[in-house]
């Protein structure tokens, strides 16, 4: 499906505080995505005991009928990366996405996050959202450029 695109990228800290949220396009209403990502936290929680193999990829967390599907990734330090994909069309909520299609996206986001925390001037404070320009730009680049099968 050609209209499949990323609708939102969110980074949630260890204690479930939102560190960063970017909607795509940037002018969209963020409130909806805050609700969506907030709701995914329960799914993370519920699936955590089943994840014994240390795999970070939580796959499809859930989808809503506007054609939005939320995918999750949990690092071993407890940071959650959530990507909401707009699968286009709307109606039936079954996304036409292959398994693991978002892996490169998560990897790229994780790399950006590593870059961020390795900055000696970055203060790892859960209460504050991320302000790093470089990180925000990188998230924007990933969110805007990705299409299925596209290598970042």
């Amino acid at each position: 499906m050609s209209s499949t695109r990323i609708a939102c990228i969110a980074i949630i800290g260890k204690n479930n505080s939102p560190l960063h949220l970017s909607p795509f396009p940037a002018t969209s209403n963020t409130l909806k995505y805050h609700f969506l990502t907030h709701a995914t936290l329960d799914v993370f929680q519920a699936r955590l005991p089943l994840k014994s193999n240390g795999d970070s990829d939580f796959g499809l967390l859930y989808s809503v009928d506007e054609g939005l599907a939320a995918y999750g990734w949990l690092t071993n330090t407890g940071v959650k990366i959530i990507v909401v994909v707009d699968v286009g069309g709307g109606g039936a909520g079954t996304p036409a996405m292959k398994d693991g299609e978002l892996k490169p996206v998560f990897r790229a986001l994780q790399t950006a996050y590593i870059q961020l925390v390795c900055n000696p001037f970055y203060e790892n404070d859960e209460a504050k959202p991320i302000t790093s320009k470089r990180f925000i730009e990188e998230v924007k680049r990933i969110g805007e450029n990705w299409t299925p099968g596209f290598a970042l």
């Binding site: 870059q115 390795c118 900055n119 000696p120 001037f121 970055y122 790093s132 320009k133």
Partner: protein
């Protein structure tokens, strides 16, 4: 000694006689030093620059011994050769980079080192407080290292950064000026 020869020596020494250390260890260690200095001096970046330079100076005084022992370098015949040695052997063996030597003044006493890469500054994003971008020279330690090590081989130099990619400049450039050659002083108390 030609630039090519210097490059060859640098490569050779780096391959055979240097103990390697993980790059992230260096980057993060240096990063925490700078960040801590910024905290200790409460954001007085001018003072932080000074402290970094001083630390570098003290490193340079010692490092030159190690450098001379590992490379078996003799005396450089002129400042041009010194510049090539710094770039292609000095930086090569200690940081595995070779900054480009450019912008010589006609009297041959001043040149620039431009850094295409800088392992000290990986990951770094300067604090967005409106001052760090204009005041802090993040890698100022390197200036001190040059000043310290050259002083030990009878050259008094001034080294300072004039631009840094961290500040949003196109290149990272350090300007090195030879102030004077220090004559070997006679031992005191002997006629």
């Amino acid at each position: 000694m030609s630039a090519n020869k210097a490059a060859r020596i640098g490569e050779e020494v780096w391959k055979t006689r240097i103990d390697k250390v993980n790059a992230e260890l260096v980057t993060l260690t240096y990063g925490s030093i700078v960040a801590q200095l910024c905290k200790d001096y409460e954001g007085d970046y001018i003072e932080v620059n000074k402290q970094l330079e001083k630390m570098g100076y003290n490193i340079g005084l010692r490092l030159i011994e190690d450098f001379l022992a590992k490379t078996n370098m003799g005396k450089c015949i002129n400042f041009k050769e010194t510049a090539e040695t710094i770039s292609k052997i000095g930086f090569k063996v200690f940081l595995n980079i070779t900054p480009t030597v450019t912008n010589w003044t006609t009297d041959g006493k001043q040149f620039s080192l431009t850094f295409e890469e800088n392992p000290l500054a990986d990951f770094v994003e300067l604090p967005d407080d409106g001052r760090a971008q204009n005041e802090l020279w993040y890698s100022n330690l390197l200036c001190g290292v040059l000043r310290g090590s050259l002083e030990m081989v009878q050259m008094q130099v001034d080294a300072h950064f004039v631009s840094d990619v961290l500040r949003g400049n196109e290149v990272t450039e350090m300007r090195v000026t030879l102030i004077r050659t220090i004559d070997d002083e006679l031992p005191p108390g002997e006629d």
